[in-house]
Symmetry: D2
Subunit: 421 residues, 4 copies
């Protein structure tokens, strides 16, 4: 990854085709049965993801812009709307596993149908209409990329609940093991930083409201916290020592009897990790991932350091220009060891970095009118901002100013830790 900006290089039709095809490539190793279950409410059935991203184009692009467009099936708007109240009723989130019908093959047919109509639209649309359409179309593509990441994390969760612990990805690319990187802290000078998206291309509304933030000097860890470092926290009694924990975090780990990150498994004194490539022995030098904000915070407290705010993270990313990262395109689907031993590492890709910033509106944030105004604003409470993307994020989807957000107890995303002091 050499540049972190909005995508402009590909032609629109190529990008549309590429992104739509990538979704299906992600789903290709799945059995039909894998695509319908919902083992926890956060996870959506893969079949639903595939149909929902398609519905987005039907609802917001084809319906308004393609003359005489006939919907593929009159019930699909009801079945595959996610959370847009403006668009009407919908299957409730927790009930997505009721959708055993339409079967997977119908969802593929739905995708083909919408793809073909989209091609027709992009071929025939007039310039002035295209200008109006472009932001919605781009949002549709970005939206599908978000669901590609969720597909990978949801598939991982689904397979992990199966007692057979099946591997999703049976032909993971070989990886040369890199030299472990020593932890170091890099300086970021205090001052006024401009926060928010100022480039040209695409950004989400939650990155807008560019504003200046006054920061003090701080220093930031040169890479993500590793499994070995986290294991030390665990072996030091970190999960049971109340002094390191936020009160609600302590309540969570006690109630669920948590002792390790999600997907970690101890067998005969050895630690293993369930990955999309199956069960693997824990690599001590890979970044720790699948931890909640609470665990990230407790680790930081134990280490005598702290987490960054999202403003500090964005300032650091301005000071330390990005280098290539491990994204979805690598096909690893797991965080990997830092690429180089010098300089700022893993700022992008590998694992989302929990910040100690609530996901709130930037000053001057405006909710768009209509259904697409429900995209981001209504979730701005009780969630924490994560930055930098992960090994499941498409490379051309991420930006320096990109704000991801999850509740502090969530662990099924590729989430990791970077410290500040």
């Amino acid at each position: 990854m050499t540049t972190i900006t909005a995508p402009i290089s590909q032609t629109l039709r190529e990008r549309f085709a590429q992104i739509r095809a990538q979704t299906e490539k992600i789903c290709s190793p799945l059995e039909p049965e894998d695509t319908v279950v919902q083992p926890m409410v956060d996870v959506s059935p893969p079949k639903w993801h595939m149909a929902h991203t398609t519905w987005f184009f039907e609802q917001f692009v084809l319906g308004p812009y393609l003359k005489n467009y006939k919907v593929f099936h009159p019930s699909y708007a009801f079945l595959f709307n996610s959370y847009y109240n403006s668009v009407g009723n919908r299957v409730q989130r927790a009930e997505r596993s009721t959708l055993t019908r339409p079967p997977l093959r119908d969802v593929y047919a739905y995708r083909r149908h919408v793809n073909e109509r989209m091609e027709e639209l992009l071929e025939t649309i007039k310039e002035e209409q295209l200008e109006e359409l472009l932001p919605v179309l781009e949002l549709g593509l970005q939206h599908e990329q978000q669901h590609q990441e969720l597909l990978l994390t949801d598939i991982k969760y689904i397979l992990s609940t199966n007692p057979l612990l099946p591997a999703y990805n049976k032909t993971a690319p070989g990886v040369t093991l890199r030299t472990p990187v020593k932890a170091d802290f890099l300086e970021v000078p205090g001052g006024v930083y401009r926060i928010g998206f100022q480039g040209e291309g695409f950004c989400f509304d939650n990155e807008l409201g560019v504003h200046e933030v006054l920061l003090s000097d701080f220093s930031i860890m040169n890479r993500l916290v590793t499994n070995a470092e986290y294991l030390q926290f665990m072996q030091d009694g970190g999960y049971s020592d109340f002094r390191f924990w936020l009160d609600e975090g302590l309540a969570m780990v006690r109630a669920a009897n948590l002792k390790a990150p999600l997907y970690w498994l101890e067998q005969d004194g050895e630690w293993y990790q369930f990955t999309l490539n199956g069960l693997e022995k824990l690599d001590p030098y890979k970044p720790v991932s699948h931890i909640s904000f609470y665990e990230a915070h407790a680790y930081a407290a134990w280490s005598g350091k702290r987490l960054l705010t999202e403003f500090e993270w964005e300032a650091a990313s301005q000071v330390y220009p990005p280098v290539a990262g491990n994204f979805q395109e690598s096909g690893l689907y797991e965080p990997s060891r830092a690429a180089q031993t010098e300089g700022m590492q893993q700022l992008y890709g590998d694992a989302w970095e929990w910040t100690y910033s609530a996901y709130h509106p930037y000053p001057g944030f405006k909710t768009a009118a209509g259904a697409l105004g429900e995209y981001n604003g209504k979730f701005m409470i009780n969630q924490m901002v994560l930055r930098g993307g992960s090994c499941a994020t498409p490379e051309n989807h991420i930006r320096t100013t990109y704000r991801n957000f999850f509740h502090p107890d969530k662990r099924w995303q590729f989430t990791g830790i970077r410290l500040a002091q």
Copy 2:
């Protein structure tokens, strides 16, 4: 149905092949996606039913009796054990939908593998061993027939949760509408009746402990309560008049805001019923079904009558010899109107009849040693006995002395009402 006795007419190998094939015939209209979900804890995924009934033969027949038998897959015992603590750990009931793998085609392969080994066993087994094996083998077949009924009711429930309300059975046999039958009460004289299974063939352990019961004179309705009669109860405010309800039943209908049997749907002032043949207009003269014991009891109280005890039912069935009933073999998969206008109707088939008898052991009931002792006895609390079989019961599975049992709040079985006074 002309005789209600244990099956003896078919040869063993034919029966085995026929019953095993019937399970697959029941599942043939399903999509793979239909076979993996579990929309409520009572319902099991059809794929699980298919594998579990197969595991039963592997665990209790092939393992002990076929020399050098190699299990199809080392994990299947863990995956497909239902509730036998003796046999070891298992996937918990509420987590059966995690089993997206093995995929459906592997479960079919599992069935073929076990069928072939069973054929081999039945061809080669020696007479004296066969005698020892026979009770277990017969139990396996009866067990599979029980799961055939559950398959039909679970499939119905699964499809009903889908907003598309898909039909399972697209080619339901045509039915000539019969003349409605007037309700009447037939006498059963008091006295000592012998209760429990005394025949030759097979019965479950819960039918044993033959004993005498002293009954007073009573009279019994000549057919099941119809949809029209039940609708009258509803229209008379039956669901909201506390006087007719057991206290826990009232709490249930209030908490869940129940107003009608399961699967009933009102649209524009007309009542419809979701069936395995899709959504159908309510036939007023078919038996009401998919009601809880609480609703059956409230209906009886409203009508000024009462439910029978299981002993009264069995006594009545001795007095009124059985006539043909509507069973699984009819392929209707719905209760139907009474066949004749005279005499005792629908004592067998159509809908299970709730009795006001708790499912408790008969005097002298003994739990068998070993795993198969867990078959029935440990469920003898908090459940009510149902008698007579339903349209989903295989005809040669039912007997006069057969005791089915469910918790009084369950509604997803084909359960109906017969009154006494």
Copy 3:
């Protein structure tokens, strides 16, 4: 206790005064704060018991029968109705602890007010009206006696949740320790027994519907199971061996991690019991109590015996005439060792005996018209019958035909075990 019949010896006014005073005597050791809490939904605040038993007389006696009766407070009918839908709205059971007002002293004033009006009524009522009134009045007294028992068990539960484990009864009467009694089984011959209340005086409607039941020969233990015997079951791994348990019982003990009866406490290898007299060392020869039906059933299965049905219990009580028992009047408020070493012991008093009979209506059971018809019938599901009374039951409240009933998981009553074989 020499006779087990309905009370007739005292004059009505004396009985009224005595029973009403006894309720207040039971509450006299309590702090006002003790009388308002509700630590679990089954337990009612003592203040509520005191007011509710008083409301019964106001609602069903003074209102209809005392001319110009003015209710003590217009809201009390709403506050202190228990479960009579016919009488109108009420504070829901789970919300009885909201009633911090009226304060305790107002409830005492309420009791005085109703007592005085009742005296007035009993002095002035005419003979023919008295006849009509008598059944309701008697029901009110029996009802208050039932609440006296509940007061003792609810107070015990309330105090047990307090970390200080305060003693309710600081001056328990001294007890001479009796010689332990060897377990023995006494014969009861089979035959037809007449079940249900046939005497003169009072009985509850659930004892009516006298009918004949045919029983086989059986034998019955000569006393209740002791703490020592139960401890042996525990030490033999009884709580974790699934073979002894009903499935729902096993689920309960696992979910709540039960290892011993309610109120048992292990400290430094010694067993203690919280009692109304404070924490006491376990007496091995007292009857075990505060166990669920599930535990009683598991104990019986472990011992190779079984529980009785309620019909067997009633038959045995006809064969073995009652001897004096340990009731509320003893002031011990704990089960005690058997009184004699010979003959049938503890059939009455000490601890209620779980039977393996569901609490269902007797043949011909009729619900009374009006509010008092809600007294018993609507609870006839999912509960098990207990027989014989306990150390918290008033002696002149119990009868051979008395049917108490609780859900099989309840443990806060004085419930024990008697075996049959």
Copy 4:
């Protein structure tokens, strides 16, 4: 209220006596029964508040500083510790209503005992020890003042659950109704503001980490939003129009079927409010209170304005010097109409103002070592900051920099709305 700084004017012993006496004055109208219940987990029994604030002095002052101090009762540390893990085990928050013992009079004796020992300590302590002691002592007093506010809000909640809706305060001071104040927006210039406590006296650790924040120009409403204004939002369908709501807020109001602030009651088309003075007709010109953050946010969205951040609030309070407010000392225990028609009104007192700022640490926030480090830091997640104090806050407890915090769904505090644009 003329100055908002830490208290220094009173001598220490006078302040100790005054604050301790005020707690008892607040509890004096209560019945013993009122002081023990816990109708929801957020609410603590008043008796517990009285004992817990006393325990604080015993644990952190008398124990360490008074020679030969003997605790009043060995179990009280266990009973009345709130959430200090460092201090050992404790009664869990949700189980505070189990503490019917010690009775109220013992808690008063406990208070007297500790007060007397504290006087002894303050008389005899040496200068250099006093210096060490002072911060803890001051924290103890501030802590007790916080509990005074909670006492009032918890008492209000407790009484509101009682069907009699009893008044706590039967002799509320008369209030002359003031002229309603027109809504206006006052300018606050952008720039760098210094945030956090810089004065001398006392502040909480969460106010430390003084730092500069860069703000843009904004304007702020001159008073709190009134009942009449909020009613307009309600009548405009505000509670059911999803466009105004955060997603989790909408889920909350739908699940609980909320239609109005807590304590609002509609009777015959008129709105009433339960207050500590009993049920009162809604005064349209008083500030709305007892609303969640979600409702505050929805109201702001409906009105086309927004909430302030806590930094904006603190900046505004630097620009607009405080005027007298309606605090606990007024004895009104309800928000009142604005005092003047000109200038900034109600910035202090009346109702806490929800800000759109998460309760997070200021830069450089340090958790103190030992038990008192658990005072604030561990709650810094999922809560929102409120500013300005309420009618239940002691006047000399509040400061410009004071940060209160509650979860966004809480409604039982005196919480209100001030808008920005």
